[in-house]
């Protein structure tokens, strides 16, 4: 008999709704698990034990009055700490927002609450979502549940690790250049970046607006589809939110992959891609073939420009977005107010922002400045068009594209943190989906000989989340070692 924290979201909600379990016992089980393993993982910036139990008891009271419960009744959800939660501090893992208490909920959090989900904590992340390892957090790094000396990926590393370690059943992250798919890959979880505009960004603290989406993380594909169905909806408070109606993403999971055309982009298996990773992903492609899909190789020639184009765009948008942190309405204000006001702001922003955030603001400011705008920013936007065209061409011949999520297995904590460029290189296979805007999922593909997770990435044309989920679901059902659990050592 599995303990409640081991159940999927689907199982939990079914039990709570049918009266076989209470929301309180389900949430309590997750909180006990959190107490047991959190000092080895450090997935949370702010755990919310009491609030979570209170919410769960309220759900049970409503159930006992005969009220019908929502789709996520009693399901413990962890929320990345760049997503605003009313009355609960939301830090972006930055000293700048260490004491920031939002006066409102993000739309996605409202939608979670409306379905009777229970928020169990705010998760650790790279500061302002700028990183791929959760090492740049002001509150210290998160550990990988599969190997505590390795990074969990980032920037949503706390959300990925929490789900993998059983400290939450579901989690929300945000994906600007792979920030949900990377921790999914490194922690052997499922993470899906939806098509840009499918999920409201209202209440997501902005880093690079034209690239980022709030994204679901789960332990299996069904749960990921379930969570996406809850958070995906048009929102008049986000002007980039699509007018498409909400839908259920779980319905088409079992449709199978027969007849599906799977494209394998040659560039995803270049010299930077680890041999074990490449082999594991090819095995996944062959499993799909065994289930009736066909495959062919495809080339995306502009992909070699994706990483610099992505970073130039992201940094430019970041430099503009983060200009708002002036320590007046919120944020960090140290020392006295005397002297030149620009000097006062500069000092506060130095104290409030860590190294990587400052590096990106400075580079973004440089790329947007007179004389460099055409060379860097505008050039990157033109390259973005080339990459879109490459993908559009590939999707004429193939329904989905399959490749590794990350070029290598999780690396050691501290291994790359002194070398910003080496860390940027980790994102080379995830940034294309943010540049094109299309959906991309990472599902567990297997493990290295050393026992580290390997993720398989599935990309589809815009608004075809259903295809990524379907293929992911079949890979998961047929994956080797799918019952393996993280050792937490």
């Amino acid at each position: 008999m599995p303990r409640p924290w081991e159940l999927t979201a689907r199982e939990t909600a079914e039990r709570v709704k049918s009266g076989k379990a209470t929301a309180e016992e389900c949430v309590l089980s997750v909180l006990e698990r959190m107490r047991e393993v959190e000092d080895r993982v450090h997935a949370f910036v702010t755990p919310l034990e009491e609030e979570a139990l209170e919410t769960a008891r309220n759900i049970d009271r409503r159930a006992s009055r005969g009220e019908s419960l929502g789709r996520l009744a009693g399901v413990a959800v962890a929320v990345k700490d760049n997503i605003c939660t009313r009355g609960v501090r939301t830090t972006c893992s930055s000293r700048m927002l260490e004491d920031f208490i939002p006066p409102y909920d993000a739309t996605v959090v409202e939608r979670l609450r409306a379905e009777d989900a229970v928020v169990v904590g705010k998760t650790n992340m790279d500061e302002f979502a700028m990183g791929s390892s959760t090492e740049t957090s002001h509150f210290g790094p998160t550990r990988n549940p599969w190997d505590s000396s390795a990074v969990p990926g980032g920037s949503s590393g706390g959300s990925g690790a929490a789900v993998a370690a059983g400290e939450a059943v579901l989690a929300l992250g945000s994906d600007t250049g792979g920030s949900v798919r990377c921790p999914a890959s490194y922690c052997s979880a499922v993470g899906l970046k939806p098509t840009y505009g499918v999920v409201s960004r209202y209440g997501l603290i902005a880093y690079a607006n034209s690239l980022e989406q709030i994204s679901p993380l789960a332990r299996d594909v069904y749960d990921c589809a379930l969570l996406l169905g809850v958070i995906a909806a048009h929102d008049p408070r986000d002007t980039t939110s699509l007018k498409a109606p909400s839908k259920d993403y779980t319905g088409s999971l079992s449709e199978g992959v027969e007849g599906l055309r799977v494209g394998v982009p040659r560039e995803f298996f270049g010299e930077g891609t680890d041999e074990e990773v490449g082999k594991c992903v090819w095995e996944a492609v062959h499993r799909l073939e065994g289930l009736g899909a066909s495959h062919g190789e495809v080339s995306l020639p502009s992909l070699e420009y994706a990483l610099p184009a992505y970073y130039l765009i992201a940094m430019s948008e970041a430099s503009s977005n983060l200009a708002r942190y002036d320590g007046l309405r919120y944020g960090c204000r140290v020392g006295r107010d005397g002297g030149d006001w620009s000097a006062v702001y500069s000092r506060d922003r130095r104290v409030g922002f860590g190294d990587e955030v400052r590096r990106r603001i400075i580079l973004g400011t440089y790329a947007l400045s007179a004389g460099y705008y055409n060379r860097y920013y505008l050039k990157a936007l033109r390259v973005r068009t080339l990459i879109r065209r490459d993908f559009e061409r590939a999707f004429k011949d193939f329904d989905v594209l399959v490749g590794p999520t990350m070029p290598t297995p999780p690396f050691k904590t501290g291994e790359k943190i002194q070398d910003p460029l080496a860390l940027y290189m980790c994102d080379v296979l995830t940034v294309p989906a943010n540049l094109t805007g299309g959906p991309a999922i990472s599902v567990p593909g297997g493990f290295t000989e050393g026992g580290l997770p390997i993720g398989v990435q599935i990309m589809a044309p815009p608004l075809r989340e259903d295809l990524t989920l379907r293929v992911g679901h079949f890979l998961e059902l047929n994956a080797p070692c799918r019952d393996r659990r993280p050792p937490l050592r």
């Binding site: 004491d99 920031f100 208490i101 006066p103 840009y196 505009g197 034209s210 008049p236 002007t239 980039t240 502009s302 070699e304 420009y305 610099p308 184009a309 970073y311 200009a323 002036d326 007046l328 309405r329 919120y330 944020g331 960090c332 204000r333 107010d337 005397g338 006001w341 620009s342 000097a343 500069s346 000092r347 922003r349 130095r350 922002f353 190294d355 400052r358 590096r359 603001i361 400075i362 580079l363 400011t365 440089y366 400045s369 860097y376 505008l378 050039k379 936007l381 033109r382 390259v383 973005r384 068009t385 080339l386 879109r388 910003p420 460029l421 940027y424 540049l435 094109t436 805007g437 815009p462």
Partner: protein, 102 residues
């Protein structure tokens, strides 16, 4: 050192200082030199996009074909002043307290 002397320089310490000032970010002397080295490495890598042939290729500002969204000019509920001031590091009566500007 010879290797780094041969490497192309994209941005000088003075430029880093200037851009950091434009972005209102203070840097220590040590940070100025470390950042300059790192930014040069990153910009050297970014130079890669110069190879991309983009004549006649329009920029993609946004992946959606967005139209401007207008809403009615109607009064909506807003935050009461004490809520709005709650996160302000310094406030006075019903105002945010800013450093002296003039």
């Amino acid at each position: 050192m010879e290797g780094s002397a041969m490497r192309k320089r994209f941005i000088s310490v003075e430029e880093v200082e200037h851009v950091a000032w434009l972005a209102r970010i203070e840097l220590s002397e040590r940070e100025k030199s470390v950042f300059t080295r790192q930014l040069n490495e990153i910009l050297a890598y970014f130079e890669k996009i110069d190879e991309a042939k983009t004549e006649d290729v329009p920029p993609t500002y946004h992946i959606l074909d967005l139209e401007n969204v207008y809403r009615g000019d109607e009064v909506q509920p807003s935050l009461p002043p004490e809520e709005a001031l709650r996160n302000a590091p310094r406030s006075e009566r019903r105002f945010f307290r800013a450093p002296r500007i003039v």
